[in-house]
């Protein structure tokens, strides 16, 4: 399929100010040591708004022997003014030919000694239901509706969670489960649907 691929994005620093003059290099990740087989797709420098734009086409990632390769697995190297690579985003296949990256500098280093805020999530939800339950006027409500709602909430959040996320093809969660503990970059990546007229 012929067609242009477009990557757009913006870089802001840890104070949310736009970052000018950083270099963004896009690659298609291919199997092989040290990324030696990776295809260089293009590069751009961020403008005064921190924006960058890279476009490439199939020939850029389908070399002689790669005619079977379907879609590129795209990652970005972000380089600062001294040409140090400060962020390398994770490989992700792109099928839509349109990608948006939002990048915020300042890696979170990961800290192991903080309390786990999420371990009591279910209990907190149940505690929240206590007040709702007391304030509910049972003479007004169809009891069946109440139970259906409660069960649905608890079921969605626990038993059905993975199924719902898989069914929906949800791509929205882009930070680790325990962000304070797990080192991670601040990158939002969207494989965007192409705009229709």
């Amino acid at each position: 399929m012929a067609g242009k691929y477009v990557i757009t994005g913006r870089i802001r620093d840890k104070d949310n100010s736009s970052v000018e003059g950083y270099t963004v290099e896009a690659y298609d990740s291919d199997p092989g040591p040290f990324g030696l087989n990776d295809d260089f797709l293009g590069s751009a420098k961020t403008d005064k708004d921190g924006d960058f734009r890279i476009s490439f086409d199939e020939l850029d990632f389908k070399k002689r022997l790669e005619w079977l390769e379907g879609n590129p697995e795209v990652y970005l190297n972000i380089k600062d003014e001294d040409d140090w690579v400060i962020i390398r985003t994770t490989d992700k296949e792109n099928k839509t030919r349109s990608m948006e990256f939002q990048i915020k500098l300042g890696k979170n280093p990961g800290n192991r000694s903080e309390p786990d805020l999420y371990q009591d999530s279910i209990i907190r939800i149940i505690a929240g239901l206590r007040e709702a339950g007391d304030a509910a006027d049972l003479s007004k409500s169809d009891v069946r509706v109440i139970f259906e709602l409660l069960l649905r909430v608890l079921k969605s959040w626990t038993i059905d969670r993975d199924e719902i996320l898989q069914l929906s093809g949800y791509d929205g969660i882009q930070v680790p489960k325990n962000p304070r503990e797990q080192k991670h970059d601040h990158v939002t990546r969207w494989d965007k649907p192409l705009l229709k007229d």
Partner: protein, 524 residues
């Protein structure tokens, strides 16, 4: 030294933080209950003006890195009652924040100034605030929280569908929103907390400024539920409360001796505070508005991926108070929900839900923000919890019908193969011809119409008549010298727009008035 206190044993926070290990007894000029859009501004402005301020916040203190973008983890941390906040018939889910910064931590950052029509109506209802005061306060807040217009190239496909629909239908008054966000990361998860701290919520603006201002004396107690307001003969002398653990059990106590107390616990919360302390008994709790918001999904044969990008970037103002509509009216805004929340909100059962969720990337979604009359009432249950009783009047049903008809038409005319509604008995439309059936269902069977409310307002009405108003134009509670209520609960009518900027402007005005007339309210 200024600090935030709480019951979590944090090692490292952005601000100076101490873990509560024992009962506390503190003195302050002002004790503010609640740290939301109003509470934070009152706390910041008064503390930076030289008053010692203590803030009691029921929710926890979290920073960007605590926000892990997962509903099941973030709702219990940031939302009031973990999201289980309903009217007493469980038909309307009310979204409110309970965390440092209140609703501003979980809202979609929409900034619309209080409309001219509303200012005038409030003046007619006895609220003595002039246009210049509103304008000045709005300008001051807009600067502090960096209100910025959404750029055209930031508008995602879901919102572009709304824009296209508006143009197709020949509407004139529709445009991108202003938001309090700087260089948004477009993650689409504003209401699960901003991981990147680009959203200019209270915690990173007013609270941050106050904590780090060398002139200010401010202590913020999180995980702290205010319970008793003490005093005698119209003069308050302080507040008592409890520090709570994760499931809400009291682990330590606090007593604040204060010269002035300001309740800013939000709609429902502030009324709850008054009622459980037997203040304004026959007046508090009357006149609650909710901005009931039904939503409509359009199912398209091309991907929309509505979750990608800024959730609410665009608004249709044509039928709203911002376009001069005096009575009622509505706005239409595009919006989306992460799949777990959407799956709970869709009014269908088991297998149908699976079918719908598989279409998640193909839906466009918009909601009707209804400017309702203040029909709701808040009372106390026997156990002392707040109970919200609310029913739609004919006008509200009519408004919501008009709104959902417009959205349904838009989606069909843009090519939707079907439209999904939030009415339990008419949840799917196959063509525009079925819209009258939906309208009929709404009007004849409103009990089965599920709507959300993100903007509860009123309950502690502001005005010049002490017989039916809880506070005067300075937000001072009638019958008291030094007790105030300042937040959305004092709104005499719904504002008809996303209310945070109106709340913040009001808090700015009241802060300035309190500063100026301190000696009228407090005997030193």
């Amino acid at each position: 030294m200024n600090a935030i206190y709480g019951t979590e044993n944090f090692e490292e926070r952005n601000e100076n933080y101490r873990t509560i290990g024992s009962d506390m007894n503190v003195d302050a000029d002002v004790c503010i209950i609640g740290s939301g859009a109003a509470g934070s501004i009152l706390a910041a402005k008064l503390s930076m003006a030289g008053k010692s301020v203590v803030v009691l916040e029921k929710g926890g203190y979290f920073k960007g890195e605590d926000m892990n973008q997962r509903d099941e983890d973030m709702l219990p941390l940031l939302w009031k009652n973990s999201g289980a906040n309903f009217t007493d018939d469980l038909r309307i889910a009310i979204a409110q924040g309970s965390t440092l910064g209140g609703g501003t931590a979980i809202n979609d950052a929409i900034c619309i100034p209080i409309p001219g029509v509303v200012r005038r109506q409030w003046r007619d209802l006895g609220v003595d605030i002039q246009d210049e005061e509103w304008d000045q306060a709005t300008a001051e807040v807009s600067k502090e929280i960096h209100v910025t217009r959404v750029k055209d190239d930031e508008i995602n496909l879901n919102n572009l569908m709304l824009k296209k629909g508006c143009t197709l239908m020949g509407f004139k008054e529709h445009y991108p929103n202003d938001r309090n966000c700087v260089n948004c990361m477009h993650c689409g998860l504003c209401h699960l907390g901003c991981h990147y701290e680009t959203k200019q919520e209270m915690r990173v603006t007013y609270i941050h400024k106050a904590l780090n201002d060398p002139k200010s004396k401010i202590s913020i107690f999180c995980n702290c539920s205010a319970e008793k307001i003490t005093g005698s003969e119209g003069t308050i002398d302080g507040v008592e409360g409890n520090f709570l653990d994760r499931i809400g059990s009291a682990v330590h106590k606090i007593r604040v001796n204060a010269k002035m107390v300001i309740i800013a616990a939000g709609s429902i919360g502030s009324t709850h505070m008054l009622l459980k302390n037997s203040i304004a008994k026959d007046k508090a709790g009357k006149g609650l508005a909710l901005h009931p918001a039904p939503f409509i999904l359009g199912d398209f044969d091309f991907e929309i991926r509505a979750n990608q990008g800024i959730p609410i970037c665009y608004t249709l103002h044509e039928f709203g108070v911002t376009n001069g509509v005096e009575d009622g009216g509505f706005l239409i805004q595009a919006v989306y929900l992460p799949p777990l929340q959407l799956s709970v909100a869709l009014p269908v059962t088991g297998g149908q839900r699976r079918d719908l969720m598989s279409r998640y990337n193909y839906f466009a979604m918009a909601g009707v923000e209804t400017r309702d009359h203040s029909n709701g009432v808040i009372t106390l249950t026997d156990l002392g919890f707040p109970r919200v009783t609310y029913s739609f009047g004919e006008k509200e049903l009519d408004t919501m019908s008009r709104g959902v008809s417009i959205i349904s038409k838009m989606w069909f005319r843009l090519g939707a193969t079907r439209v999904i509604t939030s009415h339990l008995t008419k949840s799917e439309l196959k063509s525009e011809n079925e819209i009258p059936e939906l309208v009929n269902a709404i009007k004849t069977d409103p009990k089965n119409f599920l709507v959300g409310s993100a903007h509860p307002q009123g309950g502690n009405r502001m005005g010049s008549n002490p017989d039916n108003c809880v506070v005067d134009s300075n937000c001072k509670v009638y019958g008291f010298r030094n007790l105030f209520v300042c937040d959305a609960s004092v709104f005499p009518t719904a504002v008809g727009v996303n209310p945070q900027l109106s709340v913040m402007a009001l808090a700015t005005i009241i802060s300035d008035r309190i500063k100026k007339r301190w000696n009228d309210f407090v005997s030193e």
